[in-house]
Structures are given as structure tokens and as C-alpha cells.
């Protein structure tokens, strides 16, 4: 039984990682096909850094995901404080509202936002092109917000409420007590929410695909348009670099977490 579990687990991990391995191997391939290895080369990486268009797309993706996750994190954190002091029934209603973008299929969220922007932009404001950088940003903030809320809210609820009382007892106004006490207590939730929001934004394809206009395209949307033309292997090089980046990010996060847990355990 235990042995079977172990074998299945190893097999599943191989299954999960083989496609990524294929892409990584492809990034060192001289040929264009993923299916045939024609020889080892770093040429694809050089190509990647010589391609201003591709780098610009990556830049667009980074701008959108950094801005959206940053705004969603700040906005969401303050909103949590507000939601937390609502009456239970109202709080439940707001949390169901928060869950809509989480449960709704991405395609529905994408189409609904796109229709809203077209409806308001074209029909009400008479714009010719109503899908812009700003609408894309709004869309990303909207689907990032629940990740922040769902990460920060539990921390806020777990927090010993008397800490805020204590801060006020010692002379802090409510705003001071938020910045001097509450924020330190909910920081792990804020960081987790921000990282989740960022990765979701960076990797989002479906919603961006429907909401994006002609003038501002993100990397995943561009990759989708390769359906018709063959994929240039420099994309695989980019994938490999992003893979390493996220791997390093995750390892650091886990190490930090492990360290703080050890610190706590000593107490």
C-alpha cells in the first residue's frame, strides 16, 4: 500500500514535469522542433535578448502584473479591515461577492468584463477603441483582489483582537494602531496574497485575451496567437528563464517560512 503510493507519487511528478522538461530541452535545441534534438546551443537565449518585440511583450506582462498585484494588495488589505468590522450577515454577502470571480469560469469573467468595457466605452462614451491598457489593468485588479482578500482575511480573523485594543490603550489612534500593530500581524497573509496575485496576473491568458485591445498585448496573448505560425524556440528560452526565476522565488519563500517557524517553535 505504502509502496504503491510512493510509486504513484513518483510517476505523477514525472508526468507533471516531463512537458516542462521538453520545453527546457527545446530551449537548448539547434532545430526548431520540440520533437527532434538537432544539437546543443545557447543561440535561442541570444536570440531572445536580441528580440526587442518579445522583450517588450514580456515588459508589458510584467508591468500589468506588478501594477495590478500591487494595487490589489494595498486596496485588498485595507478592504479586509473594513470587511472584518462589518456585521456578520453583511460580511458573508461581501465574501460571496469575493467568491464570484473565483468560482466563475475565466472565460465568463473575461467576456463579461469585455462586454462591460465595450458597452460603456462604445455605447455610452462613444469611444472607437474601448479596450485599452486601463481596462486590462482593471480586469487584472478585479481577479487579483479575491486572492489578496482570501489570504489576508483569515490572518485578520486569527489575530488577537486585544492587540489593537492594547495599542489604542497605549495611545494609538485607530490608524496608528493599524500601522504599528495590525499590519505586522497580517504581513504573512499580505505577502502570500501579493505573490499569488502576481503569479496569477503574469500567467493569465483567458481573461486578458478577451479584455485586451490592439494597443497593449501581454505575452500569453501573443503566445496564443502563435496557433497559426510555428513557435520561435526563443520562447522556450524565456520559459526556462521564468522557470528558474519562479523556482528561486519559491525556494526563498519556503526557506524564509521555515526559518520563521523554527524561530516560533523555539519560543
Amino acid at each position: 500500500m505504502k509502496k504503491a503510493n510512493k510509486i504513484i507519487t513518483i510517476a505523477i511528478f514525472i508526468f507533471l514535469y516531463i512537458p516542462m522538461l521538453v520545453l527546457i530541452v527545446g530551449s537548448f535545441n539547434e532545430g526548431k522542433s520540440l520533437a527532434r534534438f538537432d544539437g546543443f546551443t545557447f543561440e535561442q537565449y541570444a536570440e531572445l535578448f536580441r528580440d526587442p518585440d518579445l522583450l517588450a511583450l514580456l515588459g508589458n506582462s510584467l508591468i500589468i502584473s506588478i501594477l495590478a498585484s500591487l494595487i490589489a494588495t494595498v486596496f485588498g488589505t485595507f478592504s479586509c479591515v473594513g470587511i472584518n468590522s462589518l456585521k456578520p450577515r453583511m460580511r458573508n454577502t461581501v465574501m460571496s461577492l469575493t467568491n464570484i470571480p473565483m468560482t466563475n469560469p475565466d472565460i465568463v469573467t473575461g467576456i463579461s468584463l469585455s462586454l462591460l468595457f465595450v458597452f460603456v466605452g462604445t455605447k455610452m462614451l462613444g469611444q472607437r477603441n474601448s479596450l485599452t491598457f486601463w481596462t486590462l489593468l482593471i480586469a487584472h485588479i478585479t481577479f487579483d483582489l479575491p486572492y489578496v482578500i482570501l489570504n489576508v482575511m483569515p490572518k485578520l480573523q486569527q489575530m488577537d483582537r486585544s492587540l489593537v485594543d492594547a495599542a489604542m490603550d497605549l495611545g494609538c489612534t485607530p490608524i496608528e494602531s493599524f500601522f504599528k500593530v495590525t499590519i505586522h500581524e497580517i504581513m504573512p497573509g499580505i505577502v502570500a496574497g501579493a505573490i499569488m496575485a502576481f503569479t496569477m496576473s503574469l500567467d493569465d491568458f483567458v481573461i486578458s485575451y478577451f479584455v485586451t485591445g490592439m494597443d497593449f498585448v501581454t505575452l500569453p496573448v501573443e503566445i496564443y496567437s502563435y496557433t497559426k505560425k510555428p513557435i520561435p524556440p526563443k520562447i522556450y528560452a524565456m520559459f526556462t528563464l521564468l522557470f528558474l526565476l519562479i523556482l528561486v522565488l519559491m525556494i526563498t519563500m519556503n526557506l524564509l517560512q521555515l526559518k520563521s517557524e523554527k524561530k516560533k517553535a523555539r519560543g
Partner: protein, 373 residues
């Protein structure tokens, strides 16, 4: 002796239509050690939180030094609090916790340093400045919480069950420590607890509360010796409470027999509650007793035996240092000063019967278990 500092007038508090406080009237003097005592849910913590400014009463007024402070937020009150589970800031070390209030109030750096070190000395935590809060024991955290509140030199210190999370030994030490600190600093302490022993040994004044109302206010001795009703008699120490009739001043009849007592001022033939403390009862040979009964159970308690004695179907708790075996027949004598008479109240008939002694005992230990969490 000293002047009045805080007054609560007709205080009521309601949460979602439920009445938590029902007409609290109370004044608190400067330099006083006052304890709000009562079972959980009696409204003692709510009263404390209103004084601290964390709750606004539904009606009634709170005055401090003669000024109405109902709407003054906690950060503008000259009152500090030691919270139930200390509420120390986990992201700060001992020094920064204690300095927190001073920093918020922009006290100069060198003065902060001086006062924090002074406080560390008062609570015997010298050398612990840079310890993390999570690396302190419960007793040490308790001391930091006290120091953090006192360093601001409040006029009043509120303490919300501050010793509830400590083990018995540490509790006793901290009780003495708190009393010492209160006398050394010369400020008012308002102390909330459900532990009657703690209240009796530390307080100048005890306020016994139940169901959102004050049941009795008085000095510890008075509360113990002259409980106003069956609730107070039962909550403070053990009591046998019997139905009686006050025939006239100094004469009370119960169990079909007239006893001399020291109480007066009741209407002729007024039904009353009679309180007899288990430790006041003298055991004598059966033929010399006012009453004769049979021992039905004996429990060794270390200092004494708790024995349950049945008198005509009614069971009493008697504390004695002499052993009387189960089934033996004994007599008891009651001196006039051992008998305390109370007016009938809503609590009459609810307490003071030891017929189900063991069950009641279980309940008590269960309660104690809940407090630990």
C-alpha cells in the same frame, strides 16, 4: 479617606438586544484596589471595557475626575489596561513593548530609556530587554504586560483576569507582587476576576456581580461575613443556606427550632435565608447538640475533612479537623454569631443545598478546566 476618581451612573449595555449590564452604579476612589468579581457572563469584563473606553455604554454615564468620558476614545484616557492574555506585541521585544506607549506619545528618547529601565526593575525583569516575547514564560509575559501599562503612569490600571493563564503556584506569587506594585505606585487598580480567593486576598473593595447587576459592594470581610443574598453567600466560599423565619429581632426559627442570632430589622415572621458557613459549625456529642444528624460522606481535604451531614433530609457541608466516619451520628451547636440572616431574593432556593454535593463538585472542576483554555 481618598477622593472619588471614577463614577458609573445607571450604566446599561446591550448587544443585539441582549442586556449585558443592567443599571450599574459604582464609584471608585483614588488609590483603591477594587475587584469586580463574578462568574463568566456576569458583565464584569464589559464594565471594565467601558471604563477602558473600548465599549460605549448603551445608556448611563461614565465620569472620570468629574468629567463625562463616555465618548472619549481609549487613546485619550489616562487609563491603561493589562489584558486577559497579555496582548503583547509579538513583533517587538520586551523593551519595545514597554516603550510602545511612550513612543506613541512622543516622549524624549532618554526619558523613555530611563522609565523603561525603571519599570523593568519594578517588575524584576532586568536583563530581559531584548528577549522576544515568544521566548518568555507566562509569568514573565505577565510582568511585561504590567510594565507596559504602568510605564505610562496612568491614574488607573485595569486588569482583566490577568492571572487566569498562570498555574496555581505562580498565581499566588503574582497576587502578592501585584498588591506590592499597587502600593508602591500608589495608583488605582480595577481588577476583574472570577476567583473569589484572589479577590478576597488582594482587594480593598469587592464588587460582586451576576446577570449584569451588582449584587453587593463591600470590604472582603463584610462580603464574606455578611453576604447580602444567596448568590453572594454561595459564590464567596461554601455556605449552607436554609429557609427560616425571623420571629423578631435576634430570634430566628429554622428546622422547627428557635435560635439566637445577631441580626435585626426584619418584619415579624418574615421568611428569610439563613446562612451557616461550614467552618463555623461546632461538632458535639449527639446528646449536647442543637441538631442531630448522620454523616453520609467524608472527603479528606488536607487541612480538614469535608463531611456531609444529613439533618432531617437536608444535607449540610461541615468542615472539621476531627474525623467522623461515614454513618456516625453527631450533634452540632450554632452560636448566635455563626448564623447570618439574609432577605429573600431571586436567588433563594437555588444555592446552599449539598444534597448533590459530588455533582456540584464535578461542575466546579469542569469550570476550572474551561478557564485554562
Amino acid at each position: 479617606m481618598s477622593k472619588e476618581l471614577i463614577r458609573l451612573r445607571d450604566l446599561t449595555m446591550e448587544f443585539d438586544g441582549e442586556r449585558i449590564l443592567d443599571g450599574i452604579n459604582l464609584y471608585i476612589n483614588d488609590h483603591e484596589f477594587l475587584t469586580l468579581l463574578g462568574p463568566s457572563g456576569c458583565g464584569k469584563t464589559t464594565t471594565l471595557r467601558i471604563i477602558g473606553g473600548f465599549l460605549t455604554p448603551t445608556s448611563g454615564t461614565v465620569t472620570f475626575d468629574g468629567k463625562r468620558i463616555n465618548d472619549v476614545p481609549p487613546y485619550e484616557r489616562q487609563i491603561n489596561t493589562v489584558f486577559q492574555r497579555y496582548a503583547l506585541f509579538p513583533h517587538l521585544d520586551v523593551y519595545d513593548n514597554i516603550a510602545f506607549g511612550l513612543r506613541v506619545n512622543k516622549v524624549p528618547k532618554d526619558e523613555i530609556d530611563r522609565r523603561v529601565h525603571e519599570m523593568l526593575e519594578v517588575v524584576s525583569l532586568k536583563g530581559y530587554e531584548h528577549r522576544r516575547i515568544n521566548n518568555l514564560s507566562g509569568g514573565q509575559q505577565q510582568r511585561v504586560a504590567i510594565a507596559r501599562a504602568l510605564v505610562n503612569r496612568p491614574k488607573v490600571l485595569l486588569l482583566d483576569e490577568p492571572l487566569g493563564a498562570l498555574d496555581l503556584r505562580l498565581r499566588k506569587d503574582m497576587q502578592n507582587e501585584l498588591k506590592r506594585i499597587q502600593q508602591a505606585m500608589g495608583i488605582t487598580f480595577i481588577y476583574v476576576t472570577h476567583d473569589q480567593e484572589e479577590a478576597l486576598s488582594m482587594s480593598d473593595t469587592i464588587v460582586v456581580m451576576d446577570k449584569g447587576r451588582i449584587q453587593q459592594i463591600g470590604k472582603p470581610e463584610d462580603i464574606y461575613n455578611e453576604p447580602k443574598n444567596a448568590f453572594v453567600a454561595d459564590f464567596i466560599g461554601e455556605s449552607n443556606i436554609l429557609d427560616g423565619v425571623m420571629l423578631s429581632d435576634y430570634k430566628v426559627k429554622f428546622f422547627g427550632r428557635v435560635f439566637d442570632c445577631v441580626d435585626k430589622g426584619f418584619a415579624p415572621n418574615e421568611p428569610v435565608d439563613v446562612v451557616i458557613r461550614p467552618e463555623d459549625i461546632d461538632i458535639v456529642p449527639p446528646q449536647q447538640g442543637h441538631l442531630v444528624g448522620t454523616v453520609t460522606s467524608v472527603t479528606f481535604k488536607g487541612l480538614n475533612y469535608d463531611i456531609i451531614v444529613e439533618f432531617k433530609g437536608f444535607k449540610w457541608l461541615i468542615q472539621t479537623t476531627d474525623y467522623h466516619g461515614e454513618g456516625s451520628t453527631i450533634g452540632i451547636r450554632l452560636n448566635p454569631e455563626d448564623i447570618h440572616i439574609m432577605k429573600k431574593s431571586e436567588y433563594s432556593g437555588m444555592f446552599g443545598d449539598y444534597s448533590s454535593y459530588s455533582a456540584e463538585y464535578d461542575e466546579l472542576t469542569e469550570d476550572a478546566g474551561d478557564e485554562e483554555e
